[in-house]
């Protein structure tokens, strides 16, 4: 039952062949069996989940109209607040913190009756591409437990790939939904900036952060997208417009006549051969489905990584200033004689991990007087150029495509001492965040050389997220028919304990 798609679970729940409580328990059993190895979850909320599941079952039994996803389990990235449930952001700093309020994403999930199983592991404060930066230990890739599940949302992607949950929420600042999806053979969507409320999403980089749906199929992400998206007056940057028909788009399975642009700059040197092989096969599948493929050049993308690693740390240095041990979180060194300032310094030394400190220092530098124009200011201008590149490209094509990452999942520990090499992982995903547009990663096969999943990225213009669902749904159907089963079904069996 746990190996199905969320859409199938939804149908079974509606038909009454399974109850929400049974479904939740089946997933808790699976978590108990495999999560010791995978370590996708930081916290399990059995009580809250079963209460929600029972409520949904009661509503269904009473013949009340419920949301199609009511009763379907979900894994929540630990960067979103859920009232009364521990929220750590993968950081020691927030150990034991139980927020007194729900994020808007959680409010929307609860309203729809989605059953939140627990909180998933992540790189500390979403800074990283491997989930190795979690203060609570690394998450492992269910395809190969010696490899990373991507990051920062490695807990959510691993939970999906390990069948610990059919749905998950991720957040994507520079690729934290899409890169984990790519390396775990799952689907992850970063909606247009402002489509999903950031209220209750613990900020990393406010102008780039965006929560989005994760699942094993395109349709499942579309269903979840419609639940979590929508205008929220509590988020000033929330888009005040109706949510598009993502489910309809994902079901359309028709891309005849669509123009699809291949980004020239996101290919070539530095890309794993097997990644490019599967990417090119996917392009052929799109052509077979009736799309026209054209090459598009986006010259400013060359500077996207550099701009991102100035903008995101700058905003982070300010966003993370609030973690000072005065109002919440851990406090270190308060022996009655030290000053507040000394205690802040000691707490931040102990509470933050290496990568977080690195980025805070980098951001503090980029914003400091005398350097602002050269660093932060220049980066914001590059952002304008990248936005213009996209606008020019979308004037010619409906969507843009590229590999999601240059390589398949790397080994745990392989890049942890080389921040610059680690940052290069995000080269294909970052331009999207800088421009605020929507983007999806879906599996396009296994790399011949290592048998690991390869991700295919689809980028759609701002506020036209339907387009990536339309293309993604079509591509998924075409590839699955050539494989004769979904990619996730070929994942190796995990040892059950």
């Amino acid at each position: 039952m746990i190996h199905q798609s969320a859409a199938q679970m939804s149908a079974d729940l509606a038909a009454g062949s399974v109850t929400a409580v049974e479904l939740a328990n089946a997933h808790f059993d699976r978590i108990a069996a495999v999560d010791g190895d995978v370590h996708a979850f930081l916290h399990i909320d059995r009580e809250g989940a079963l209460a929600q599941a029972s409520a949904v079952d009661a509503s269904r039994k009473a013949g009340e109209k419920v949301h199609p996803l009511a009763g379907v389990p979900l894994a929540l990235k630990d960067v979103l607040t859920q009232k009364g449930v521990p929220t750590t952001c993968g950081s020691k700093m927030l150990e034991g913190w139980r927020p007194p309020y729900d994020s808007t994403v959680v409010t929307n999930l609860k309203k729809a009756g989605v059953v939140i199983l627990g909180k998933t592991n992540m790189d500390e404060f979403a800074m990283g591409s491997s989930t190795e930066n979690s203060a609570y230990g690394a998450t492992r890739n269910p395809w190969d437990l010696s490899r990373i599940p991507g990051g920062s949302g490695g807990g959510s992607s691993a939970a999906l790939a390990a069948f610990e949950a059919p749905l998950a929420i991720g957040t994507d600042t520079g690729g934290s939904i899409r890169q984990p999806a790519a390396v775990t053979g799952t689907v992850g969507v970063k909606p247009t900036y402002g489509a999903v409320s950031r209220y209750g999403l613990v900020a990393f980089s406010s102008s780039l952060d965006q929560a989005g749906p994760c699942a094993r199929t395109v349709l499942d992400t579309a269903m979840l997208h419609e639940v979590i998206a929508g205008y929220d007056p509590k988020d000033s940057t929330s888009i005040n417009a109706p949510v598009g028909k993502m489910v309809d788009a994902a079901k359309k399975l028709d891309i005849k006549g669509m123009k699809i642009g291949v980004v020239k700059e996101l290919s070539g040197d530095g890309y794993q051969a097997g990644v490019l092989t599967r990417f090119n096969e996917a392009l052929e599948a799109l052509v077979s489905a009736g799309a026209e493929i054209v090459e598009v050049s986006t010259p400013s993308f060359e500077y996207a990584l550099a701009a991102y690693y100035l903008i995101a740390p700058s905003e982070a240095s300010s966003n993370l200033a609030r973690f000072d041990s005065m109002r919440y979180g851990i406090r270190v060194g308060d022996d009655g004689s030290r000053s507040a300032e000394e205690v802040m310094n000691m707490t931040r030394e102990v509470g933050f991990g290496r990568e977080v400190k690195r980025r805070i220092i980098l951001g503090t530098y980029a914003l400091s007087s005398g350097y602002y124009d050269a660093y932060y200011g220049s980066a914001q201008k590059v952002r304008t150029l990248i936005k213009r590149d996209y606008e020019a490209a979308f004037a010619k094509v409906d969507v843009l495509v590229s590999p999601t990452c240059p390589t398949t999942a790397f080994k745990i520990g392989e890049k942890s001492d080389d921040p610059v090499a680690m940052y290069l992982n995000d080269v294909c995903t970052i331009p999207v965040n800088l421009a605020g547009i929507g983007s999806m990663s879906l599996p396009c096969g296994l790399a011949p050389e290592d048998g690991l999943p390869v991700g295919f990225q689809i980028m759609s213009p701002a506020m036209k997220d339907e387009l990536m669902y339309q293309v993604g749904g079509t591509l998924e159907a075409a590839l699955e028919s050539s494989w004769s089963k979904p990619l996730y079904a070929s994942a190796p069996e995990l040892a059950v304990k």
Binding site: L94, S318, D324, S368
Partner: protein
């Protein structure tokens, strides 16, 4: 030998600039829906946003923007076509996010001015105070320092934080250097804050209570040797909690700086705190190791692009300027400049106006408030308006006019009201302060006076009218001062054949 103010001014020229923070009186906070009531129980007006909880986001209060624009318009500013919030990054426990959401290089209003008038030795003089900017920001929480020295930070064992005030909308009004004030810098500073306060009050955008901190003034003062043409190092004096303190703080700072320079010391750029008791300033945080605030545009908020039509609507709806209102009142009441200035300086103009509106004659209303009531208020070190109501003064004035009270009796009534003996009628009743107007009672007293001073009575009969004073005095004494002296005189003279 320390220099006094006049000696300091002989050698040095002061330079003055002022920053005023105004708490707006919106119902809800700047970026969240928490209430803004003054004096609420600790942390009862807090939420994820104003506590800076992880994940929370700000949303701008539209009324705060409107009030800021109205303030800018009243101060003759331009409203900028594109304005943004910025984060001012520094750590302080009373600031929940460890950055203040403020405005930096794109404030909502710029380039205004305010004319203020002060009394000088050469008569009234107008100073134009140029306003550099008016910008929006949020207030911080309040800390209570426990243990160690009384309430002081230094020596405190720990501090207790209440975030009810955190996030209350603040407007900061920054002047340019005010040129040419010379020795009148303290008076100009005070007059500016007073005028600004009147404008803000007339706009209805703030409670403008300096003692409660809803209007706070920071005075930037520097001095330089006369005719040197150089600008001195400035200090920034905070904690100035009344108009009188503004004047004292500027004066005190000029004297302090002059004496430092005389002693061969240099002025340190720093924040200083005004001490109400001594009138001096105490050193706070040195700004030499200047914080680097790392301002950048607030990514959680969007730009404000004020619609010019809306701005014009707001401009058209501005209330009358306090200076124009004063001019109109002065004409209507027919009071001389000096008296008008006295009322303004005593902050009693509104009170006098209210008293006049209740039927009192303007000169009488002015003289009661500035005279007897102010004298008593000074003795108690409180505001005159806290002692007695305009309606009570108006009533007392009308009782004098109708002859039911004499001036002397009226003073006793005022005293009684202030002592909490009730309203004027009740005080008159309780104290038995009615004027003796019963002719037969008065005649008995007059006859008794004549009997005791027959010689004087004889002189009056002989035409020596001024001699009547002695007998009138005796009658007044006999009636305990409750008789109307004019009436006594009339009856006495008539009785002695001189009426």
């Amino acid at each position: 030998m320390a220099l006094n103010y006049d000696q300091a001014l002989e050698k040095y020229e002061p330079t003055l600039g002022l920053e005023v923070h105004v708490e707006l009186n919106t119902l809800s906070k700047m970026f969240c829906g928490c209430a803004t009531d003054f004096g609420a129980s600790p942390n009862t007006q807090t939420c994820p946003v104003c506590l800076g909880l992880p994940g929370s986001l700000p949303v701008v209060n539209a009324k705060a923007v409107e009030s800021s624009i109205r303030i800018g318009l009243a101060l003759n500013c331009s409203i900028t076509p594109f304005s943004r919030f910025a984060r001012k990054n520094y750590f302080y426990p009373d600031m929940p996010k460890n950055f203040q959401t403020s405005q930096y290089d794109e404030p909502i209003c710029v380039n205004g001015y305010l004319d203020v008038t002060i009394e000088t030795e050469e008569g009234p003089k107008v100073y134009r105070v140029d306003i550099e900017r008016v910008h929006m920001e949020e207030d911080t929480g309040k800390s209570l320092h426990v243990g160690g020295a009384t309430g002081r930070i230094h020596g405190a064992e720990h501090s207790l934080l209440d975030y009810n005030r955190a996030g209350i909308p603040l407007v900061e009004i920054v002047t340019r250097i005010i040129p040419g004030t010379d020795k009148y810098a303290p008076e100009v500073a005070r007059a500016y804050v007073a005028e600004l306060r009147d404008i803000l009050r007339s706009l209805g955008v703030s409670d403008v209570k300096m003692e409660q901190g809803s209007l706070r003034c920071d005075a930037n003062v520097s001095i330089s040797p006369r005719n040197s043409g150089v600008l001195g190092t400035r200090s920034e004096t905070k904690n100035v909690n009344s108009l009188r303190s503004v004047e004292r703080a500027v004066r005190g700072e000029i004297i302090r700086q002059a004496n430092r320079l005389e002693a061969g010391e240099r002025i340190v750029q720093e924040t200083r705190h005004f001490q109400e008791e001594s009138g001096e300033t105490r050193s706070g945080r040195s700004k030499e190791t200047a914080e680097d605030y790392r301002y950048f545009p607030e990514p959680d908020l969007l730009p404000i692009v004020a619609d010019p039509a809306w701005v014009e609507e707001l401009r058209a709806a501005l209330p009358e300027k306090p200076s124009i209102r004063r001019k109109k009142l002065q004409e209507a009441w027919g009071v001389p400049d000096k008296e008008m200035a006295a009322m303004v300086n005593a902050e009693l103009l509104d009170t006098v106006e209210e008293t006049v509106a209740l039927g009192a004659e303007p000169t009488k209303a002015r003289s009661w408030w500035l005279g007897e009531v102010s004298r008593l208020a000074n003795e108690k070190s409180v505001a005159p308006t806290s002692l007695i109501q305009p309606s009570e003064i108006a009533e007392i004035i009308s009782l004098i006019a109708s002859g039911e009270l004499t001036d002397k009796l009226a003073r006793q009534v005022v005293e009684g009201v202030i002592n909490g003996e009730g309203n004027p009628r009740m005080v008159i009743e309780k104290r038995g302060l009615k004027v003796v107007s019963d002719d037969s009672a008065l005649m008995a007293a007059i006859e008794a006076a004549i009997a005791s001073q027959p010689d004087t009575a004889e002189r009056i009969r002989g035409g020596n009218i001024p001699a009547a004073g002695a007998l009138i005095g005796a009658v007044m004494k006999a009636t305990g001062g409750q008789a109307d002296a004019a009436k006594v005189r009339e009856l006495l003279l008539k009785h002695l054949g001189q009426g």
